[in-house]
Every structure is written in structure tokens, then in C-alpha cells.
């Protein structure tokens, strides 16, 4: 079996990861991609081509809020923040992810 070097994100999990990262505090798009890469120890790499559409989609659903502010090195940047609605959504997605991964782990262990 071919070893997965940099895992492709499972369909639908990017939104959850973004919400999770944003939940830690107000952050801009570049920061989000860096953080995901960092926390996953470089296993997960977010394509910008998926990141930005996802950010805007989440904002459109009013799970994210945004405002323009100054970045750590004095540049004008767009910061994202989790809305109350987004917090609920994140909780729901975390719960369902936990159930899903538990189930998958169970299957993998049992069948072996």
C-alpha cells in the first residue's frame, strides 16, 4: 500500500478544520493555512484554491464573520472570526466527526 505523504483532505472536512482554527481566535487566511499545516505536522496541506472559496462560503453562511485589520507586520489584512452560529455548527460537526471516526476505527479494528 502506497504511503500517504501529504494527506488529501477528506471531502467536507476542510470547513470543519477552518472553523476549528478560527475558533482559536481572530485570524487571516494565510494564518489559517499556516496553522493547519503546522498543527497537523505538515501532513495536511491546504490548497489556496480551496481555502479562499471555503472561507467565503462559510462567511456567506454566516458561520464566519470578518473584518479588516492590521497584520502582525503592519499590513492591511482580512481577519476571520467565528460567529455564534458558527460555534454551534462547529460543535455539531465535531460531534458527528467523533461519531464517524469512532465508527470507522471500530470497523477497522474489528475486521482485522
Amino acid at each position: 500500500m502506497r504511503e500517504l505523504k501529504k494527506a488529501d483532505l477528506l471531502q467536507g472536512t476542510l470547513d470543519m478544520l477552518i472553523l476549528k482554527v478560527v475558533a482559536l481566535g481572530s485570524i487571516h487566511g494565510y494564518g489559517i493555512s499556516q496553522r493547519i499545516q503546522q498543527i497537523s505536522k505538515d501532513v495536511l496541506q491546504v490548497q489556496q484554491g480551496s481555502l479562499y472559496p471555503a472561507l467565503h462560503r462559510l462567511q456567506k453562511r454566516r458561520w464566519l464573520e470578518s473584518e479588516w485589520g492590521e497584520s502582525e507586520n503592519g499590513r492591511e489584512a482580512k481577519f476571520y472570526r467565528l460567529s455564534a452560529l458558527g460555534r454551534k455548527q462547529l460543535a455539531a460537526e465535531e460531534a458527528s466527526w467523533a461519531r464517524l471516526s469512532e465508527a470507522i476505527t471500530l470497523i477497522l479494528q474489528t475486521v482485522r
Partner: protein
């Protein structure tokens, strides 16, 4: 979600997306520099790693666009789902709106064609009709004399041109059989006034317009097609009109239909002819084209100055005359406007009722969808989105309704043209893009009227709302809005019913009127004649008497007469008279409607002779008859017979003698009381009078026989306008009948809608309160009590609506006052009947669902809980 705000935000977003992405690239560049790359290399790698920036931007943009499209698509899909879930509801809504919008569009198409659109002449706003009016004698505006017309044309400074015409029926002798043609005699400048040029040939020349000049004619497109075989070389051809050879000098465009579509030939009327120099013989109907930018008031002032100067110059003939200017459009439209607006008002009320009806139904349905709506809230929909979704559902139905409505309108506009040929401009009524736009606007307005309110109310449920509680299990609160909407509907329907009731009673009253003459079994027809014959009145009189005698001998003919006007359908020609022997009150003006008839007239129409004897139209001395109203008004206590009547205005005619008094007859119109009238007994007054023939049997069955006989007597003359006298009377009432039928139809539709609405409302109340009813029954209530409660609820709404409707109708019925005959606008009987009818209908509509509401099995309901 709104499309507009998304669009206005677009530019803003574009720039922001740009700077958000360039920030990302710059941060990556910085990281690369920190990692030890050269700035140029760092930048290159960053751009490379980022991937196509344009592509990313495009994908971000698509998030917004697809969200919008998704929103719309989802709304449409949920609308379709909504329709599929309850197709019968959708059908009811589409049909209701289809009828409502269709009827509204149909009446609007008539208003648009008749009242709103300009006449089909070039710059038609500049066209006015000019009349002369003798205010001192209180006379109606009259036609204009030739010389005066030419004076006006020469002296004014506000008109581009002024011209006049008179029309008469002539006989075309070119074909095998003599054929009746309508010919208009026009003064110079006619084509300039109308702004038309012949499609073939030319206008008249100076020579042709001079007395004694060559005969010339412009012909209509129809004439050119039918009689000249569309020959491109038709100009110069000779046609024989009334025996005179006339050269065709031009063909006018098919669109030119003045004075009306009947006219096929236009010929010059020679204004310098010796017989045209008399200032008191008035023939011409006069139209003028104002100079661009000149207002009617300016032209009116200008013409007043011109006529005042003529008054000084010719005090005897022109001293008392004034000029009256009327826009041509209002001449063409006549009095139909108020009828059309009344119809439009009532059809709009009907559409409003239809919309409110649907609103009531929707209100009930959205209440039932509370659960679904709170789930959508829970999934993150905003209130705006939910309202938009609910409105989309209604809009889909409304657009379908307006398409159905267009079909109704198309049918109706054809019916309009078919049933009321006498309406002005009726052939211009057609379905065009304006009507299509109008009905789509109707659909949008209807969506808002019937959808907005239920949507706003329905979307009021909050997130925490009723997710956990499900409505059928609890006793639901009362919904006052439903009753209020129903009450308003009842009141509007009552208003329409009263309007229709008043018109119906008025129409009945006209039908019951005794016109004072007997129109049954009378055939009317005309035989062509030329005004040129009036120069030899004896000869013309002999000709007409010969025809009368000839037709009288036909078996089946009981009596025959001629008349200048059609009884029961004449515009009335009031004249001022003097009684030569002196009158009861010398200061009182003697004004009477003048009629010119032959002696047999009273016999044919069975107008009773009350005193004296019937006049004689063949004696050397002129004789007249007066009606009873004339005798009572002007000569009570005088013995009328044997007195002499003269025109108040100077006249060369020897005052004729009054030979007898006849009964009053409604000569002008069935809904107009007969006033004083004078009948001049003469047969030489006009060349083509109406022949009135009393037959033994069906008048139309005699038509062919009479035609043959006339052809034997007068082989060169044509016969036209052959129809029973009764259909003339019918035509005269056509507008009245159309108005009455349509308003009654609208009112009936309105009350049916109210019926459906009440039924729906009570059924809904019964459904939502099933549990309550079950509890009550379990606790010992009798079903009859329950039924009574629901019934009373329906009746209370109906009664309050009725009272409001009666008040509204009393206010609005003033608009109808001018159209009513023999009933007052506040006729108590009509109001009481409508009140009772509405309450009866409301009782029936509420009773069925009220009985059903009480038919609840308590155990079943309680087990559900």
C-alpha cells in the same frame, strides 16, 4: 436574500478579494525570504506555490454567484415541491388568479385601446373638432356653413389647417347591381389636416376644387382592392357615382379611416359654388390641426377673436355664434369612458378579493407549515430568506395565473369586439406586449398582496419556537387576521353586488318602460339619395312618394312611412319656435325637439292621435303635429289645433299649421323622458330618409321581397341598413347592457370567491381546534352547540363585512348615479336584497364546515394527545 444588494456589493468585493489574496502571496514571499531566498526568487516561488491567483479569485466569485443561483433554484424547487404536495390548492390559486388577472387585463386592454392610446393619425394630439354654437338660443353645437369655415381657415393664426366634410350614401353604378357607397365631400386642405398622402396618385388640384371643375375622387384602399382589382394603374380610371363619371385621382393608405371605416370615396366639395354662400345653411363637420405647441385654450381664444370679428361683419347670421373646440379624441371616445372606468374599478376590486382569498388560504397553510419553517430557521436561514422563499412559491403560481389570465383576456377582447360593435375604436382592442407586461405586473402585485402578509406572519416563528411542540397536539390560539381578511372580502363583494344590483334594476326599469310607440314588427331600411336632389324638392318628393306607394302595395306590408330619425335612437334636434297666435307665457322660450316625418309615421309606430287629425304631407300648405308634452307645456288651456308654428330665428318658410296632438313617444332614447316635440310632415326634407315599414309577420322575412320591389321601382339606387326597428333599440342599449352584464358577472364571481373563502376559513378553524372540540364533547357538550359556535363565527364575520360593505357602497354608488334609470343610487330594496343574499350565502358556506367540525370522535382525538 436580495439580488440588488448583492449586485451593488460586487465592485467592493472584487477589490477586497484582490487585496486579501495579494496579502497571502506577500506573506508567503516574506516567509521564503526568512527561509533564505533572494527577494526575486522568494516572490517567484510564492506565486508558484499559491497557484493561479486568477483561478482562486474566480472560484471565490463563484461562491457568491452560485449561492445566489442556488438560492433561486432552491426557492423554485421548494415552490415546485409545495405545488406537488397539494396540486388541488395550486389549481385553485392558478384558476382564481387566472380569472382575476384575466378579467382585469381584458378590461385594461379595452381602456388602453379606447382611452389611453392616441388616435391612429400622425400627431393626433393636434387634432380638434370645431363646432359653431348659438348660446343665446341654447342650441346644441351644430355643423358649420361653408363660407364660415373658409373665413375661419383664412383668419385664424393658431391652426396649421382647418377642413370640413359631410358624408352621404351614393350609388356606385359601375358593377352589375347598384351598390351603396359612402362618400365624403371634403373642403380644401383635407389631407393636410389629417397628415396623409395618397399611396397612389395625388391630392386634388385647384381646378377640381373649383365650382364647375372636373369630377375627381380619392378612394379608400378597400375600394381600390374590391372595385379596381388592386390595379397599380388605377389612377385615371373612371367610376360612376350616382350616375356621374368621376376620375379616380388617388388611393389613400389602408390605415386611413376618417370619418369612419364606411367611407370609400372622398370628393372635393366646391366651396365657391353659389349654393354654398349662404351663411345659415350649415353642413360641415369641421376638424383642424393645431400648430405645434399651441394649446387648445390659445386656439379657443384665437377662434373667439376671429368669430367676434365675423359677428360684427355679419351681425344677422354670425352675431350670436361662438366657436367650440373639442379634442378629436374625446369626440371619438364619446361617453364610454365612465363606463370603462367603472368596469375597471370593479374588476380591480374583484382581483383584490381574489388575492385576499388566496391570502386567507395561504395564512392557514403557512400556519400548518410552522414546523417546517422552524427547521429552516434552525438550519441557519434568515427571516428574509424564508419570506423570499414563501413569496417565490406564490409568485410561481401567480405567473402561471397571469399566463392563464392572458388566455382569458385574449378571449375576452375578441368577445368585446364581437358583442359591442358600436363601441368606439373597438377594433383596436387586441392583445399586445403592453397587455402582456400589464398582466405580469398584475402577477407581481398579486404575489405581494396575497403572499407578503402570510409570509411575514408565517416567518415570525422563532428558532426556539415550535420545534419541540407540534401544533396539532395543542389548542391553538385564535388568528384574528383570518377573520379580518374575510370581513374585508365580504365588504368588497357586497359593494360589487350593490353596484351590479343597481345596474340590473335600472336595466329592468328601462325594459319595462313604455316607449310610447310600438317597435315590434317594424322594418327599417334606407335607399340611397343625393343631397344634390334637394335643389329640386318637388321631384325628390315625388320620387319618395312613388317608392312609398309602391312598397305599400306589397302584400304583408301594413303601413309605411319615412322619418329623418330612428325612433328611440335619435340624438335629438332642439329648435326654438314661436307660436304665431301668441303663447300662454310670452317670456317663456318655446323649445322642442324637431322630427321630420311623413304622415304615415304615427300609424306605423302606433303613436295614438289624441286630438285633431293627422297632418297631410302632400298638401300645398305645410302642416305639423305636436306631442302632448308640447301642448301641456306651452299651450295649456289653449286650443292648440289650428295655431301656427314658426322658427324663432328668421326664416323664409311660411309658418305651418298645427293639425293635431299625438301621444308622447321616447324618440331620443328609451331611458329619456319625452319632452316637447314637433313633427314636421314633409317628404322632401332629405334624400335618403329612414323607411319604416310595419309588417304582418317577422319584419326580416319581408326584407328580400321589399328589396326586389325597390329594385323594380328604382333600379339605379342601392338599399342599405335593412334591420328591424327593435335591433336599433338594442344597439342603443348595447353599452348599458354590456356594462350591466359584466358588472353582474364580476359581482357573482366575487360572491363565489367569498363563499369559497368562508368555507375554507371555517374548515381551517375546525381543523386547528379539533382537540378543543374533542375535549368539549368529552366534557358533555352537544354537537349542535359546537356547530352553532362555528356558524356564528362565520356569520359574525359576514355581518360585520356586510355592514362595512353597505357603507362603502353607499359612498361609491354616487359614481353610478349618472348611469341609473328609475332607481336611486341608495335604492333601499337593492341594499336589503344584497344584505340578505350575502348572509344567506355566508350561512350556507359556513354551515357545512361547521357541522363537520362538530363531528369529532372525542376518544380518537384524546388518544392522539
Amino acid at each position: 436574500m436580495s439580488w440588488f444588494s448583492d449586485k451593488s456589493r460586487k465592485f467592493d468585493d472584487e477589490k477586497k478579494i484582490d487585496s486579501e489574496i495579494s496579502f497571502h502571496v506577500e506573506e508567503m514571499t516574506r516567509a521564503n525570504i526568512v527561509g533564505g531566498m533572494t527577494p526575486v526568487e522568494a516572490r517567484r516561488r510564492a506565486v508558484l506555490d499559491f497557484g493561479g491567483a486568477e483561478q482562486v479569485k474566480q472560484q471565490v466569485r463563484e461562491v457568491y454567484i452560485s449561492a445566489m443561483m442556488d438560492g433561486l433554484r432552491l426557492n423554485l424547487r421548494s415552490a415546485m415541491c409545495f405545488i406537488r404536495k397539494d396540486p388541488s390548492f395550486a389549481v385553485v390559486v392558478v384558476l382564481t388568479l387566472g380569472l382575476g388577472i384575466g378579467a382585469n387585463s381584458a378590461v385594461f386592454s379595452a381602456i388602453d385601446a379606447i382611452l389611453l392610446r392616441p388616435l391612429s393619425y400622425s400627431h393626433s394630439g393636434e387634432l380638434v373638432e370645431l363646432h359653431q354654437q348659438n348660446l343665446k338660443q341654447g342650441r346644441l353645437p351644430t355643423p358649420v356653413s361653408t363660407v364660415r369655415l373658409e373665413d375661419w381657415s383664412r383668419d385664424n393664426s393658431t391652426f396649421q389647417s382647418i377642413s370640413g366634410f359631410y358624408a352621404q350614401n351614393v350609388t356606385l353604378n359601375t358593377g352589375e347591381l347598384p351598390e351603396r357607397i359612402t362618400e365624403a365631400y371634403v373642403t380644401p386642405r383635407f389631407l393636410q389636416v389629417w397628415g396623409v398622402t395618397p399611396v397612389l396618385g395625388r391630392d386634388f388640384t385647384r381646378e377640381e376644387e373649383k365650382f364647375g371643375g372636373p369630377n375627381a375622387a380619392l378612394v379608400s384602399n378597400r375600394f381600390w382592392r374590391m372595385h379596381l382589382h388592386s390595379d397599380p394603374a388605377a389612377v385615371g380610371k373612371i367610376v360612376r357615382l350616382d350616375g356621374f363619371s368621376t376620375t379616380v385621382v388617388g388611393v389613400l393608405p389602408a390605415s386611413f379611416l376618417f370619418p369612419d371605416r364606411e367611407v370609400d370615396v372622398w370628393s372635393p366639395s366646391q366651396v365657391d359654388a353659389p349654393y354654398a354662400q349662404d351663411r345659415s345653411s350649415t353642413w360641415f363637420s369641421v376638424q383642424g390641426r393645431l400648430k405645434p405647441g399651441v394649446t387648445r385654450a390659445q386656439a379657443q381664444a384665437d377662434m373667439a377673436t376671429v368669430q367676434a370679428r365675423l359677428g360684427k361683419q355679419f351681425p344677422k347670421s354670425d352675431g350670436n355664434l361662438t366657436v367650440l373646440l373639442v379634442p378629436l379624441k374625446s369626440v371619438v371616445i364619446g361617453s364610454i369612458g365612465s363606463s370603462l372606468w367603472i368596469l375597471y374599478g370593479s374588476v380591480s376590486l374583484l382581483l383584490l378579493i381574489a388575492c385576499m382569498n388566496i391570502a386567507v388560504l395561504l395564512l392557514a397553510r403557512t400556519a400548518e407549515r410552522e414546523h417546517e419553517i422552524s427547521i429552516r430557521y434552525a438550519l441557519g436561514a434568515s427571516r428574509r430568506e424564508i419570506i423570499f422563499q414563501l413569496l417565490t412559491e406564490v409568485l410561481v403560481l401567480a405567473v402561471a395565473g397571469s399566463v392563464a389570465g392572458l388566455a382569458v383576456a385574449a378571449g375576452a377582447s375578441r368577445a368585446f369586439a364581437h358583442f359591442s360593435k358600436n363601441l368606439p375604436r373597438v377594433d383596436e382592442i387586441a392583445l399586445n406586449w403592453r397587455i402582456v407586461m400589464y398582466s405580469l405586473v398584475c402577477a407581481v402585485v398579486a404575489t405581494l398582496v396575497c403572499g407578503l402578509f402570510p409570509a411575514i406572519r408565517g416567518s415570525r416563528g422563532s428558532l426556539s419556537g415550535s420545534l419541540s411542540q407540534s401544533s396539532p397536539r395543542q389548542v391553538s390560539a385564535r388568528n384574528p387576521w383570518q377573520s379580518i381578511l374575510m370581513g374585508v372580502q365580504v365588504s368588497l363583494a357586497v359593494t360589487l353586488l350593490i353596484g351590479a344590483g343597481l345596474l340590473l334594476r335600472s336595466f329592468q326599469a328601462i325594459g319595462r318602460v313604455n316607449p310610447g310607440f310600438d317597435p315590434n314588427h317594424v322594418l327599417t331600411l334606407r335607399i340611397s339619395g343625393s343631397w344634390g336632389e334637394t335643389t329640386k324638392p318637388e321631384k325628390m318628393s315625388q320620387r319618395i312618394n312613388r317608392t312609398l306607394d309602391g312598397l305599400r302595395s306589397v302584400p304583408g306590408v301594413e303601413a309605411i312611412a319615412i322619418s329623418g330619425t330612428i325612433p328611440g335612437n335619435s340624438s335629438g334636434y332642439p329648435v326654438e319656435l314661436k307660436i304665431s297666435e301668441g303663447q300662454r307665457d310670452p317670456n317663456r322660450k318655446v323649445i322642442a325637439n324637431a322630427h321630420i316625418v311623413s304622415a304615415g309615421y304615427f300609424d306605423v309606430l302606433r303613436i295614438p292621435l289624441l286630438a285633431g287629425e293627422v297632418c297631410n304631407d302632400r298638401s300645398a300648405t305645410n302642416t305639423v303635429m305636436v306631442n302632448q308634452s308640447f301642448a301641456d307645456t306651452y299651450m295649456a288651456n289653449f286650443s292648440v289645433i289650428g295655431y301656427h308654428l314658426a322658427y324663432a330665428a328668421a326664416s323664409s318658410m311660411k309658418p305651418p299649421e298645427i293639425r293635431g296632438i299625438v301621444g308622447d313617444a321616447r324618440e331620443e332614447s328609451l331611458d329619456q323622458l319625452p319632452g316637447p316635440a314637433v313633427y314636421w310632415c314633409r317628404t322632401e326634407a332629405m334624400p335618403d330618409p329612414n323607411y319604416l315599414i310595419r309588417t304582418h309577420g317577422d319584419p326580416m322575412a319581408m326584407a328580400a321581397t321589399l328589396r326586389t320591389k325597390i329594385h323594380q321601382l328604382e333600379p339605379a339606387r342601392s338599399v342599405f341598413s335593412v334591420m328591424p326597428l327593435e335591433s336599433h333599440l338594442g344597439d342603443q342599449l348595447a353599452e348599458n347592457r354590456l356594462r350591466t352584464i359584466l358588472l353582474t358577472l364580476f359581482a357573482m364571481t366575487a360572491i363565489s370567491l367569498v363563499c369559497i373563502g368562508l368555507y375554507g376559513t371555517i374548515s381551517y378553524l375546525g381543523r386547528t381546534r379539533r382537540r378543543e372540540v374533542g375535549l368539549r364533547l368529552a366534557l358533555g357538550a352537544v354537537p349542535r352547540q359546537i356547530t352553532r359556535r362555528f356558524l356564528l363565527q362565520g356569520l359574525r364575520v359576514a355581518l360585520i363585512g356586510c355592514v362595512a360593505g353597505l357603507v362603502l357602497a353607499a359612498g361609491l354608488s354616487r359614481l353610478l348615479a349618472g348611469m341609473l334609470y328609475g332607481v336611486s343610487a341608495l335604492d333601499p330594496a337593492t341594499y336589503v336584497i344584497v344584505l340578505l343574499l350575502t348572509l344567506l350565502v355566508a350561512t350556507i358556506a359556513s354551515l357545512v364546515p361547521a357541522v363537520r367540525a362538530a363531528r369529532v370522535e372525542p376518544t380518537e382525538v384524546l388518544r392522539e394527545a
